[in-house]
């Protein structure tokens, strides 16, 4: 009798183990697929850019020369366009985002909070091509007729605000990007601020803090998370293709003026890949993609690290 029962249990155990094992391995395969995918993308880009890498070497990143007719390629203008437009985007978006996040997490009445949070999510969900259209038909003309003449008349002594006001250029691209990254930075900053325990706010108020001082304290507490949010926004701005392509002007040049047309890494790939003539042209475009990938990869890893270190610190409490 006893023996039979033991055998029965053993069988159940064995069967359960088998199904567990199967499930475990199945999910493992899914997880591994992600790794394979990333490795494969890197590998593919690395191999396909071989020709360009062999001919231009590291000089590729530092050369401004991009001439498909003469088979001369260098990525510096695109790296410059991408970085500067992204930095403009952050410079505009960061104060706005932090302001909105502070309002949402610390000050707003409940009804308003829900409404604005909802609208922010909507903003984040608008396809970038729609932003691009809006940029072409609304923002660029507005920049040309109003913003750029205004900047020239007030701050025109700065080299960055000189030159022709054409409407399409680095500044316009930066503004479009600012609008696109604001929802991301706002949402994360709001969540980071919300994660600060009530006891921290009470501690500040109990010491006689004004509302503004208590908020400063909260922002100080959240600085790691806000930095992480910023870097994630930067990652988005760096990789954004469509909207930027539509308003940046698409001219491979490095000029001091922000009104001048420029070119970004993502834009040049989108514009030229379909009509690329020779193998070297394609290879160079792929190398631009590789650089773009590396930049976004570094930015995102950095953001993860910051957010991780921030959450660990608050949990330690």
């Amino acid at each position: 009798m006893n023996k039979e029962i033991t055998v029965g249990i053993k069988e159940i155990k064995a069967r359960k183990k088998l199904s567990d094992l199967f499930f475990e391995n199945l999910t493992l395969v899914f997880a591994l697929m992600i790794i394979v995918l990333v490795v494969f993308i890197i590998y593919e880009m690395f191999m396909d850019s071989k020709l360009s890498r062999e001919i231009f070497g590291f000089g590729f990143i530092f050369s401004q020369d991009w001439n498909p007719v003469k088979d001369k390629f260098g990525a510096l203008t695109f790296v410059y366009g991408t970085l500067i437009s992204s930095i403009i985007a952050l410079a505009i978006s960061l104060p706005v985002s932090i302001g909105v996040a502070v309002y949402l997490s610390e000050l707003a009445a409940n009804v308003f909070k829900t409404a604005i949070s909802f609208l922010i999510e909507i903003l984040a969900a608008i396809p970038s091509i729609v932003y691009g259209f809006w940029g072409i038909f609304v923002l660029a003309p507005f920049m040309r007729t109003t913003v750029q003449p205004f900047l020239q008349s007030t701050l025109g002594f700065l080299p960055i605000f000189q030159g022709n006001a054409v409407g399409f250029g680095l500044l316009t691209a930066g503004i479009i990007l600012a609008i696109m990254v604001t929802p991301i930075i706002t949402a994360i900053t709001r969540d980071v601020l919300k994660a600060i325990p009530t006891s921290q706010r009470e501690a500040a108020y109990a010491l006689g803090a004004t509302k503004w001082e208590a908020i400063k304290m909260a922002l100080l507490n959240a600085k790691g998370g806000i930095l992480g949010a910023t870097v994630l926004g930067l990652g988005r701005a760096v990789g954004e293709t469509m909207a930027v392509t539509m308003v940046i002007g698409n001219k491979a040049q490095i000029k001091a003026s922000l009104f001048e047309p420029s070119y970004s890494m993502a834009s040049v790939i989108a514009n030229e890949f379909a009509e690329a003539s020779g193998g070297l042209h394609i290879s160079s475009l792929i190398e631009v993609g590789l650089i773009l990938f590396a930049v976004t990869f570094i930015i995102n890893s950095f953001a993860r690290l910051l957010i991780y270190s921030f959450t660990r610190k608050t949990e330690a409490k």
Binding site: Q200, E202, A203, A204, A206, L207, G208, A209, N221, K313
Partner: protein, 271 residues
């Protein structure tokens, strides 16, 4: 049967005989606090003497903390909270003060130690002063030493003031919070169950601190622990279901309370 207020008055009379003039730091009249229409405390009339430790005891949900938090406008931070009645601090209605001034003069130490996690020990102590007004560096150093000394933490941390506050133990963090409160030089300090998250040794250290503090400050402490109330306080108020049932010298409350309800509670028959 006498009401709590009458007892208060009587106690005041006794006090007057011995001290000539009694100083009350905090007085409340008809203090009622409600949350979204539900009353948490109702018609509290109490006079708290200067330079004493007054403890507030009572079962969970009796309104002890609600009462304490109304004394420094903490309910302003809670949506739906409504405070009625008058609170006087130094004979002046609380509404006549600036809100931040009240909070500076009426310091508060919370149940769970809540030092600022991104700051080191030194910066935690001076956080409140820097908010209120700028001070010179050497003045700050002095205040840090004095405050930590008073909170009984100086000896333990004097060599590592630049270390993160999170590196301290729970008991040390709580004493750091006391030091932080002392640094802004309040007159009244409210303690909301300051030792309920701490071990017995840390608790006794904080109780010792309380004993020293009453020379300079008026202390009101909410506690769940009746032995603690008996050990540290001069006066004890017993709250039950949002009402102040009895308020008298601690010895009287624990040995010969007037109210049956108080007696039941302090003898452990319920609560």
């Amino acid at each position: 049967m006498e009401t709590a207020e009458e007892i208060t008055k009587e106690a005041a009379v006794i006090e007057t005989v011995s001290e000539e003039k009694v100083k009350y730091t905090v007085e409340t009249e008809g203090l009622t606090v409600s949350f979204k229409g539900r009353e948490a405390i109702n018609d509290i009339n109490i006079k708290i003497r200067a330079n004493t430790v007054t403890s507030i005891i009572g079962p969970s949900g009796c309104g002890k903390s609600t009462f304490l938090r109304s004394l420094n406008f903490m309910h302003d931070l809670t949506p739906g909270a409504k405070v009625k009645g008058t609170i006087k601090i130094h004979n002046k209605n609380i509404d006549e003060y600036d809100m931040t001034e009240v909070r500076r003069r009426v310091g508060m130490v919370f149940q769970k130690p809540n030092p600022f996690p991104t700051m080191n020990i030194y910066d935690n102590v001076v956080a409140g002063i820097i908010m209120n007004k700028g001070k010179k560096r050497n003045e700050l150093n002095e205040i840090v030493e004095q405050s930590l000394e008073l909170a009984g933490l100086w000896e333990e941390v004097k060599d590592r003031l630049k270390v993160s506050a999170m590196a301290l133990s729970g008991g040390q963090q709580q004493r750091l919070c006391i030091a932080r409160t002392l640094a802004v030089n309040p007159e009244i300090i409210l303690f909301d169950e300051p030792t309920s998250a701490l071990d017995p040794i840390s608790t006794s250290k904080i109780e010792e601190t309380l004993f020293h503090l009453k020379n300079k400050y008026t202390i009101v402490i909410v506690t769940h622990n009746m032995q603690q109330a008996a050990r540290v306080s001069d006066y004890t108020a017993y709250f039950f279901l949002g009402k102040l049932i009895e308020y008298a010298r601690t010895r009287t409350i624990f040995t010969s309370p007037r109210e049956k309800l108080t007696e039941d509670y302090v003898t452990g028959r319920f609560g």
